[in-house]
């Protein structure tokens, strides 16, 4: 166990003590006890940041967990996990601070639940980003799904919370499950190793495997569901029923980036394939566009931000797709065009976490102070909440991509990357590539529009006090600290982006694109505002101009049909699918579980005879052998004929007494056969048992009804006949083959031993009886037990009667 292991485990350990703090110190808000933990973790992880610009030496520690299966709790810290670790703990600290002021320490507020879930989530998320072992990663991955669902349903008395939690759970867990299948495939492909680093080390071999495509698709399914990519994004808007600190933390900054993390982590392996480039790029672009257009439709502030998150995640995803093209080239220091996309992705990841976190917190404040998040009711808050307004303005400007904030820089880089990729000469990009910058540009226009929309509808316009529940005023300072810190980061990263360059961005790029640079070499990272007048700048100016034009005419736009619908149309698909799953499952059950005994017996008969006959034909096992057949004596033929006649008569007779007599006849004829086949003991027993049985039937005769007549139905009668004939035929076929195959072998029956030793070992002359009580006495003992139990059962059935209405 290293310290890094404890970084992952600390939140879980802390979670155990949370209820104690909650119940013991009721007067203090439970969040205060938790606050130091993420801060300490943040500081500890921050000590790994390379400050001198010399690159990051990866750290790895392994603790065996299930070594026989290759599952080890390995923590691995490189640029990528360092970046995510800092995001998780840093924003975690701010969110905990914010939540202390956001959720009041009331008597009926289960704060201990909240912080236990939050700690669980934080630990799971740290586990995801620090795990080097795929299975351990999966375990933590599912823990994030679970804790996320718990947090969404924190106010579980609200129906929408439960709906949102169920939806996010179903979608992310099914994706996670697919991912597990993908990991298992990867384990097989890579030669029995779950270690990501070992898989990356042999990436060249691994991508040659034919199983690589299914493995890739399954893993991408996991990443896309978690990161809310189209069409799996529908859970994210419904997850907005969670408390706002949760939305800020999970659904903007951390959990939804787990999929991004996974894609980035797997890029060195799958990025070598063409499919990866196109799938990640296209899904990212579709999500980007869909999310940004859908955001404009929303009227709830958190709804807008949710779709905005979807859209920004799509942006980062598409950049990772574009960036994988870099793996097809060698690194050239002066030609940054190959790896710009990865640089932009990493940079935008940081930026998005800062400004989106701030925006969610700001929305939470507005909700908290005015009692509503509906943009149709809000307005004119600029003068009343000046600090909130300032923070929002910074966040929105960064989101829209305006200078001098960090969003502008990453948007410029995004345009550069898309233009670069369009000009590459691989994967048919020279013909198809033009659409990438076009789509990117359209999505940016809508991003600008919804950012403008939040701004104008919330802060400008007329202040209408009658829309608000309470007296509206500026939020307390405690609520404002976290968004202010995040907004300051937005400005700092915007003005001095290069403080991130070689501390975080470059090491992260090294882990996404390993092997592109040789040892000791570094990517050239320099992000700056003024590039001169180039295409990207013109694109940004066009975004602002057209975005303004749309935003000013938003009223007209919103009258169109498309903007009337607030819910995502894909929700209908999900709801219908879920309903139909239940309905159809019910139908299938009702269809097969009829409650009729004979239907079930029919299934069994069909299945058993079917599988036997199938096996016969499949393996051509049928054999028949007449060679040792003796002549059948006439009297045997007579007995058998009588036996078959009475047997076949049974189904046709519906008089009870005739039935019972026939049954007796069959039994006695079988006893006769036992005599013929030289089995005196059997014959004796059969005679006795048959007699007692007939007596028994006759005893109950008076109490039993007439046999129910079958309904006259040619179809069901012939089906029963066919099934019975099939069962009989299967038995006959098996019997014949067994008989024939017995002939050829020279196996000495074990009975020779009994024949030789009955006298000498057991002192008996009747071999059957010696076997029953001496050689195989245990069978007899248990058979006696069976009779005893049957007798007890009969007595109980008759004597012990339930009274009216009494149930078993």
């Amino acid at each position: 166990m290293s310290l890094l292991h404890f970084v992952v485990l600390a939140p879980f350990i802390m979670a155990i003590f949370m209820p104690f703090f909650y119940y013991k110190f009721r007067s203090v808000h439970t969040g205060w006890f938790l606050l130091p933990l993420p801060l300490i973790l943040f500081i500890y992880i921050a000590t790994y940041i390379p400050i001198n610009g010399g690159g990051l030496e990866p750290v790895e520690h392994t603790v065996p967990w299930v070594p026989s299966l290759g599952i080890n709790f390995s923590v691995y810290l490189d640029g990528l996990s360092l970046l995510f670790g800092l995001l998780i703990t840093g924003i975690g600290t701010l969110v905990v601070l914010y939540s202390i002021f956001y959720i009041k320490n009331k008597v009926d507020e289960p704060l201990n639940n909240f912080y236990v879930y939050l700690l669980m989530f934080m630990g799971a998320m740290l586990g995801v980003v620090f795990s080097d072992n795929l299975i351990v990663l999966y375990v933590f991955w599912e823990l994030t799904s679970l804790s996320s669902a718990l947090l969404i349903a924190y106010w579980f008395h609200k129906e929408k919370s439960r709906y949102g939690a169920q939806k996010s759970m179903l979608i992310t867990v099914s994706g996670g499950f697919a991912m597990l299948a993908g990991f298992s495939l990867l384990y097989v492909i890579a030669g029995s190793t779950f270690s990501i680093r070992e898989i990356i080390a042999q990436a060249d071999v691994v991508v040659q495997d034919p199983l690589i495509l299914p493995a890739m698709l399954l893993i991408l399914l996991g990443a896309f569901t978690k990161s809310a990519q189209f069409p799996f994004h529908i859970w994210l808007p419904d997850a907005m029923e969670a408390p706002t600190p949760v939305s800020a933390y999970l659904h903007s900054a951390t959990m939804v980036k787990a999929g991004i993390y996974l894609v980035a982590r797997m890029t060195p392996v799958f990025g070598l394939t063409v499919e990866w480039f196109w799938i990640v790029l296209i899904f990212g672009l579709v999500t980007l566009t869909w999310g940004s257009i859908s955001a404009v439709r929303q009227t709830d502030l958190k709804g807008i931000l949710a779709f905005s998150t979807v859209s920004q995640l799509g942006l980062i995803m598409s950049l990772l797709g574009m960036g994988s093209a870099a793996l097809h080239f060698d690194y050239v220091e002066t030609e940054a065009i190959y790896y710009t996309a990865i640089m932009a992705a990493v940079f935008h990841l940081i930026n998005h976490a800062t400004f989106k976190g701030a925006l969610f917190m700001v929305v939470g404040i507005i909700d908290h102070e005015t009692g509503t998040r509906d943009v149709r009711k809000l307005g004119g808050l600029m003068a009343i909440m000046p600090i909130t307004f300032t923070v929002s303005l910074i966040g929105l400007a960064a989101m829209a991509g305006l200078p001098p904030f960090n969003g502008f820089l990453s948007k410029e880089l995004f345009f550069t990357a898309s233009l670069n990729v369009a000009s590459l000469d691989i994967f048919n990009l020279e013909t198809l590539g033009f659409f990438i910058p076009v789509v990117a540009w359209i999505a940016s226009v809508f991003t600008f529009v919804y950012s403008m929309m939040i701004f104008t509808r919330t802060f400008t316009g007329e202040f209408k006090p009658e829309n608000y529940k309470e007296d509206v005023h500026e939020a307390p300072i405690g609520l404002l600290i976290s968004p202010i810190i995040l907004a300051s980061l937005v400005i700092i990263f915007g003005l001095f982006p290069n403080i991130l360059a070689y501390t975080l961005i470059e090491p992260t790029m090294q882990s996404i694109l390993p092997g592109l640079t040789s040892v000791g070499e570094q990517f050239y990272v320099n992000i700056y505002h003024w590039h001169g007048i180039n295409t990207e700048l013109l694109m940004t100016i066009a975004v602002v101009l057209i975005g303004l034009a749309i935003a000013l005419n938003l009223k007209k736009w919103q009258e169109s049909y498309f903007f009337q619908r607030e819910r995502d149309p894909l929700n209908a698909v999900y709801d219908l699918g879920l309903d139909q799953l239940v309905v159809q499952a019910q139908n299938v059950t009702n269809m097969q579980m009829t409650g009729r005994l004979r239907d079930y017996l029919l299934y069994m008969a069909v299945f058993i005879s079917g599988i036997m006959l199938w096996t016969f034909f499949r393996y051509d096992a049928f054999a028949i052998d007449f060679s040792n057949e003796l002549a059948v004596p006439f009297y045997v033929i007579l007995v058998v004929a009588a036996l078959l006649a009475s047997t076949l008569a049974l189904p046709f007779i519906s008089h009870r007494i005739t039935n019972i007599v026939l049954l007796g006849v069959v039994g006695f004829l079988i006893a006769l056969l036992f005599v013929i086949f030289r089995a005196p003991d059997l014959a004796l027993t059969q005679l006795l048992v048959e007699t007692v049985m007939v007596v028994l039937f006759l005893l109950t005769y008076r109490h039993l009804p007439e046999i129910t007549k079958e309904a006259k139905n040619i179809w069901s009668t012939s089906m029963k006949a066919i099934v019975s004939a099939a069962v009989g035929g299967a038995v006959i076929l098996t019997g014949l083959s067994v008989h024939a195959l017995n002939q050829g072998t020279d196996i000495t029956p074990i009975s020779d031993y009994f024949i030789e030793n009955s006298k000498t070992l057991a002192g008996g002359y009747n071999m059957v009886n010696v076997i029953l009580v001496d050689f195989r006495g245990l069978d007899t003992l248990l058979e006696v037990l069976v009779l005893a139990i049957a007798a007890l059962g009969v007595v109980t059935l008759i004597k012990h009667k339930m009274k009216e209405g009494e149930d078993v």
Binding site: G595, L601, L704, G728, G735, P749, G793
Partner: protein
């Protein structure tokens, strides 16, 4: 002789299956009886029918019939007898409580 007996037991089992698939509870009990008959015959047949004297050492024969399947069938007869007796009483009690022998009418329960 074995082939004849194999066909005989096959037919008995087919009839037993047919009885299982009918509406009458009593007939299902008959089916159980018939099924055990068929299976007993099959066990005896498949171990070979054409050797020697009854398995009694007092016979002083050169060859004896195989005693092991006979012991097995003996056990099986007793067990199936116990089963049948229990089933019969169960059918009787069912009829007493529900007033019908028709499996069609015995479907489902109050909890459904």
């Amino acid at each position: 002789m074995e082939i004849l007996m194999i066909f005989t037991s096959g037919i008995i089992i087919a009839v037993a299956t047919y009885l299982f698939l009918t509406r009458s509870l009593l007939r299902v009990v008959f089916g159980v009886v018939m099924l055990s008959h068929g299976v007993h015959l099959l066990i005896l047949t498949l171990s070979g029918l054409q050797t020697g004297a009854p398995p009694l050492l007092t016979e002083n024969a050169d060859a004896y019939t195989d005693p092991l399947p006979q012991a097995v069938i003996l056990t099986a007869i007793v067990i199936s007898f116990g089963m049948t007796a229990f089933l019969l009483v169960l059918a009787y009690r069912t009829y007493q409580d529900h007033g019908t022998d028709d499996l069609e009418e015995l479907r489902g329960n109050a909890d459904e």
